[in-house]
């Protein structure tokens, strides 16, 4: 089983070093939920609720697929959105994301 290391910084500022499988077709929202981090994932990963809004703090944004219209639209309904904003459910865990650092956006 192949995996990468991903750091997730929670809303209290605590870093969580997670081992993330890349052969399970998982995304960042699912990774956070399985690590019992406070991510709701209300809509089940369809880019329809923004409860997995996070910031990509490492230089991995270029290694990810660009935001779809659905994701961009949903970010319109989120708050505290900046240039690093993504929906965790739209970031698929892949080898290119080794060492990625994610910060959970405030709930709002």
């Amino acid at each position: 089983m192949s995996s990468i290391r991903v750091t997730v910084i929670d809303r209290e500022g605590t870093s969580h070093e997670l081992e993330a499988p890349t052969d399970m077709n998982m995304n960042v929202m699912e990774l956070c939920k399985s690590a019992e981090l406070p991510v709701e994932g209300t809509c089940g990963g369809m880019a329809m609720c923004a409860s997995c809004h996070c910031y990509v703090e490492s230089a991995h944004a270029g290694s990810m697929p660009e935001k779809s219209d659905d994701e961009e639209d949903m970010l319109d309904e989120a708050f505290h959105v900046n240039d690093q904003s993504r929906l965790g459910c739209q970031i698929r865990l892949e080898d290119a994301l080794e060492g990625m650092v994610i910060r959970l956006a405030p709930v709002g």
Binding site: M48, E72, D76, P106
Partner: protein, 335 residues
């Protein structure tokens, strides 16, 4: 007053399937939901999205799943109180629960099944300091009656259909001034509505502030000024009578949080024997409950509903022997 056997709070997939399972045991159900239609998240957030993990359906649209659950529940004639939020609960002299909604509708039942998903959907409120001070004093999250804004200066925030539609409507001789503030250049609404907004802006009939975000509210007794942070132009002050932020809905646990139930991380603790809560006679099923190993899946909610009604039956008819009904023997016999 509405009397029933099982009062179900939440008309999502899990609540609807409860009607069927309860009906097999000749128990009647009534459902309350804060949304104006049955179906919960499936109907409100993603009716057109496919679901892949319902047994025997390799793929089914969320909206279609709701339609089929409604059809399955139909022989058991469920009652509905829609568009109202279950607010208070008391136990009467006969040990029955009396639940009253925010609009004053009263329901009575010996058992309650909370199938509230993640709670009731409420407007998303932007994180602006002192926003609460101006709620109903210039800040509204829903436009109930457009006449309320006649001759007034109105700022709308958001980029979706409701923001666009209301901008167009209020700009058409209703409000005296309309400003639309949106985070970016693009809009996700219907192309016709987007074009109309752009045309109105070009004609000087509305003020369009894209790449902007409202970050401050101010005023003596009621709202007078908004601060809009613009990506390139810095902070802009906008004088206004009203601000209507339209950022969609998000679920909140709501009044259920005050029903003396044991709650962990926004979910109600239950015993997996029968999905009963710490309050005798109140059950919690589906996404709203939690127990060791809990998975928030529609599939699991169906299972929980099925076991829960067995326990509810025994509670309502302690002297009757419950015989498990197999629909394969006699089919489904409605009321």
């Amino acid at each position: 007053m509405i009397q029933t056997d099982i009062l179900i709070i939440g008309a999502g997939p899990c609540g609807l399937f409860t009607v069927f399972e309860a009906g097999l045991l000749k128990l009647r159900c009534h459902l309350i939901d804060a949304l104006p239609q049955a179906g919960g998240q499936c109907a409100e957030i993603y009716p057109k999205k496919p679901i892949y993990d319902i047994p025997a359906y390799p793929e089914i649209l969320a909206g279609d799943l709701v339609d089929r659950l409604m059809e399955q529940a139909k022989p058991f004639q469920p009652g509905f109180t829609l568009g109202e939020r279950a607010e208070t609960i008391i136990k009467d002299d006969e040990g029955q629960f009396v639940v009253t909604t925010n609009r004053g509708t009263v329901h009575r039942a010996p058992t309650i099944a909370i199938a509230g998903g993640l709670g009731c959907f409420e407007p998303r409120k932007p994180p602006v300091e002192r926003l609460q001070d101006y709620e109903d004093h210039g800040v509204e999250y829903i436009i109930k009656d457009p006449e309320f804004y006649r001759g007034k200066k109105v700022v709308i925030s958001g980029g979706g259909d409701s923001a666009l539609d209301w901008t167009n409507f209020l700009a058409d001789g209703v409000a005296s001034e309309v400003t639309l503030v949106h985070r970016r250049d693009g809009f996700r609404g219907h192309p016709d509505s987007v074009q109309k907004v752009l045309d109105l802006a070009a004609a000087g009939k509305i003020r369009l502030l894209t790449n902007g975000e409202v970050v401050g509210v101010a005023g003596e007794e009621r709202l007078e000024t908004l601060t809009v942070k613009h990506k390139t132009e810095g902070e802009i002050e906008v004088e206004t009578d009203h601000w209507v932020p339209l950022f969609g809905l998000s679920p909140k646990l709501g009044p259920i949080a005050d029903w003396n139930l044991n709650i962990t991380k926004n979910a109600i603790e239950v015993d997996t024997l029968d999905y009963s809560t710490n309050v005798d006679g109140i059950y919690a099923i589906g996404d709203i409950n939690t127990y060791p190993g809990k998975l928030k899946l529609i599939l699991c909610g169906f299972h929980e509903a099925t076991l829960m009604v067995q326990s509810a039956f025994k509670r309502i008819y302690p002297d009757k022997n419950l015989v498990l009904k197999y629909t394969t023997v006699n089919g489904v016999n409605g009321f």
